[in-house]
Each structure stands twice: as C-alpha cells, then as structure tokens.
C-alpha cells in the first residue's frame, strides 16, 4: 500500500506542540482565562447528553432498587412519619435559635453561620469521567447564583466545592480529590489544620498546625472557617487513625468523610457573597 508517512509525522508534531502549549497555559494561568472558558463550554456541551442518559437510567435503577427494598418500605414509612413530626417541632425551635444566632453574628461581626446562609439545592446528574480526579456534576449553575469556589454540602456533611460553573450546571470537586484542601479543626479540641483528599480509595489526611495534639480516634473534624471558602462548623468526618509515626514529631491523622461519595444524589450549595469568595479558583 502506498503511503506518505511524513505527513502523519508532521500532524503528530503539530498536535504534540498544541498539547504542550495548552499544558503551559494551564500552568501559567491556573484555572482562569481562556482555559476556564474552554472548560465551561465543554461542561455545557456534554451536559444535555449526560442528563439524557441519567434521566433514562435513573428510573430503571430506582425500580430495581425499589423491588429489593419493598418489604422494608412500610416500616420505613412509619418511622419517617414519626421522625417528621419530631423534626417539625425541632425545626420551629431551631428557627428561633438561628435568628438569634444571626442577630448575635451581626452584632459581633462574626462570619455568617452556614445554616443561615442562602442555599441552592441541586441534583447530581453525572460523575467525572476519570479515575484520578474526583468530581460530580450538578444541575444548577450561574443563573441560580452559583459561582466557582462555593461550598457544597450533603445532609451528612461537606461534599466539596464548585469549580467550573456554566449557566445551568456546575462541576463540583469532591473532598476526596487529591487537589482538595480545607482548613479544619477537631471538634472539642483546639487543634486546627489542613484536611486534604487522597483519592476515593483512601481516607482524608489532616495535617495539624500544632505539633502536640490530643486528637484521638473518634473525634469529629469540622471546617474551621479560617479559609475564604468554607464557613465554620461544617461536619467533615471522623478521625479513624491518630498516631505518631517513627521520626515524626506530629501525629498522622486519617479522617473518614461522613459523606458517601459513591451515593451522592442531592446536594446543596452555600451561596456566599463576593467578599468571601475569590473568583480565582486556585489551590485552597
């Protein structure tokens, strides 16, 4: 067969050069500029197809799941009704406490407590397509008030933060992602530090600022509010290992997140004002 391999080689060199240029721009600009626009466009273009698949598949998956759980549903229903009544009464009390909290925060000019912040509820419709990054896509975006670097929560605790935001969708980087980091504190202790993700297969790791620490297995870790993204007191997870390893002065602390990232479905985004949220989505 007659071929001119030279032309293929030229094309290869052109696209390799393009790849290297893109990598260079990524390193220079971070996640701003032209690449952010390219990412947002990509999210927006793929979103309708992803949502289509999710819409078709979810009812089928739910149907089979429901058949398996049918016998438990009646008991569950009764229990939930009871819980609902209890929660309704607790809720009215909580509202009063919340209003009081807001008044006190205003007086003391403290950071706004997250339960009092505006929230946007969203549905997870897809996961990121890779095996190293840990992210999910949600069906709310810029038109709902969401901007990059806003905290994302599930009922169990912290989920992550928004990254690429289009008009109607957002990419959320999860707390188990290797690029994730949040200032955190151990509840009931004075220790603060940085919680980082290590991939979905491993627990989070916490690096303490102080070397001497009383942190123990079972302690709860929450956000500290010391960074510009996460307000204080959002539950992150539980300490499952806290030990001094050979040669190190500080303890190695593993934190199991409360949120089960494999089962994320409905989440809420805390709408923070422009003062607290930097537009540049740089490292935490």
């Amino acid at each position: 067969m007659y071929r001119k391999p030279g032309r293929g080689r030229v094309l290869l060199l052109v696209f390799l050069a393009l790849s290297i240029i893109v990598i260079t721009i990524d390193y220079r600009e971070g996640s701003g500029g032209i690449l952010r626009t390219a990412k947002e466009w990509s999210v927006a273009v793929v979103a309708p197809i992803q949502r289509g698949f999710t819409t078709v598949v979810r009812p089928v998956g739910n149907f089979f799941a429901s058949i398996g759980e049918l016998s438990d549903l009646r008991d569950e229903n009764e229990r939930l009704k009871d819980e609902n009544e209890e929660l309704a009464s607790e809720n009215s009390q909580a509202d009063e406490v919340l209003q009081e909290n807001e008044r006190m925060s205003d007086l003391l000019e403290l950071e706004e407590a997250w339960p009092a912040m505006d929230k946007v509820h969203a549905q997870v419709y897809a996961k990121d397509a890779g095996n190293y990054g840990e992210g999910v896509y949600i069906d709310k975006g810029r038109e709902d008030g969401i901007r990059p670097n806003m905290p994302v929560l599930a009922p169990e605790g912290l989920v992550g933060k928004t990254l690429s935001v289009t008009a109607h969708e957002s990419l959320v980087v999860l707390l188990v992602d290797t690029n994730f980091g949040a200032n955190a504190r151990v509840k009931d202790e004075r220790d603060t530090g940085l919680v980082r993700g290590r991939g979905s297969a491993d627990p989070l790791t916490m690096i303490l600022i102080g070397k001497n620490s009383d942190v123990e297995v079972g302690d709860e870790v929450t956000t500290s509010g010391l960074d510009e993204i996460y307000p204080p007191a959002i539950a992150i997870g539980e300490v499952i290992r806290a030990e001094v390893q050979g040669g190190q002065a500080s303890k190695t602390i593993d934190v199991e997140p409360y949120v089960d990232i494999a089962k994320l479905d409905k989440v809420m985004v805390l709408i923070r004002d422009g003062r607290a949220v930097g537009e540049a989505a740089g490292e935490d």
Partner: protein, 186 residues
Amino acid sequence: MAVSARERGLTGFSELGIGRAAAFAGMLLLAVAIQSTLLAQATVLGVIPQLVLVLVVSLAFLDGERVGTVVGFFGGLLIDALLPGAVMGLTALIFTLIGYGVGLLRYMTPSDSVWTPVLTVAGASAVAELGYAALAIILGQRWVSLDETIKIAGLVVLYNTLLTPFVFPLIRRVADRFRPERVIRL
C-alpha cells in the same frame, strides 16, 4: 484500479471532511457522556472504564495515524476539560501519541483477526494509564499511591478490553459509513 482518499496521502484535516468530523465529534461527546453516567455507575472496584480511549484506539486502528492523532488530541482535551483539578492538555498529549502509535501499528498487524483490536486496546490502555500517571508525577501533581495507580491501570486495561468486542463493531460501522472513499477509476 481504485485509489481511496486515504491512499492518496491527504492530510488529517482534509481527510476528515465536515460530515466525518461531525460524526467523530458526535462519537466523542457520546462516549464521554456514557463514560461519566452509565459506566460511572457500573464500575469495577470503583474504577471507570475509559470509553473515550477505546474510541480513539478503534478509530486509529480503522483509519490510520492521521485520524488517530486528530481524534486523540480532541478526545484527550475533552477529558481534560471535564476532569476536576486535571492539568489541561495532559490527556490530550497521551491520547495524541496513542492515536498516532496505534495508527502506525495497524500496518504491522493482521487486520482480519478479531483479536487484534482487542489486544491493541489492552496495550494502549496500559500505556495511557501508566503514561498519564508518570507525566502527572513529573509535572508535580498531587497523586494517589503507587499501589492505587497500578490497581487502577490494571482494572482499566481489563474493563476496556472487555468492552472492545461490543464497542468496536459499532465504531467500525460508523467509521465505514463516513469514510471518504472517493473512488478514482484509472
């Protein structure tokens, strides 16, 4: 005697044509959407198969190194754009090399064997996964452990290989339909 456009040595872009480029772009978008929804739910030990890579390898195998290079670059770039915290251009670089390499390799392999595309996907998946991990570490990205990297690479190779017998015939059907066989009678 019949000479196809491919045999006349046209360049990557002119070889593509608008209809064909649209078909390939459509397949890429469909593949990434399936990968992030259906396949992201049907993981093996938490690992998602890389359908976009299977598509790039299949098209390179069917249509040569020029198509493989172009589809590899854009497929990789799309993956990069949709991953959180990824270095943009890294997957594009790997997939471009793989598209070109597989395109060249097809001239040296028995194309009529059903095993050839399957084994090609297996080899390309291993190169892609380990190559990506190595480049990411060289570029100073935060990374998962070596054990985890090897586990992920092994499972991706396995899963991609299992998908290929089902996916490759579909890709071939679309590729055949849009191939510019502008036959010149001599």
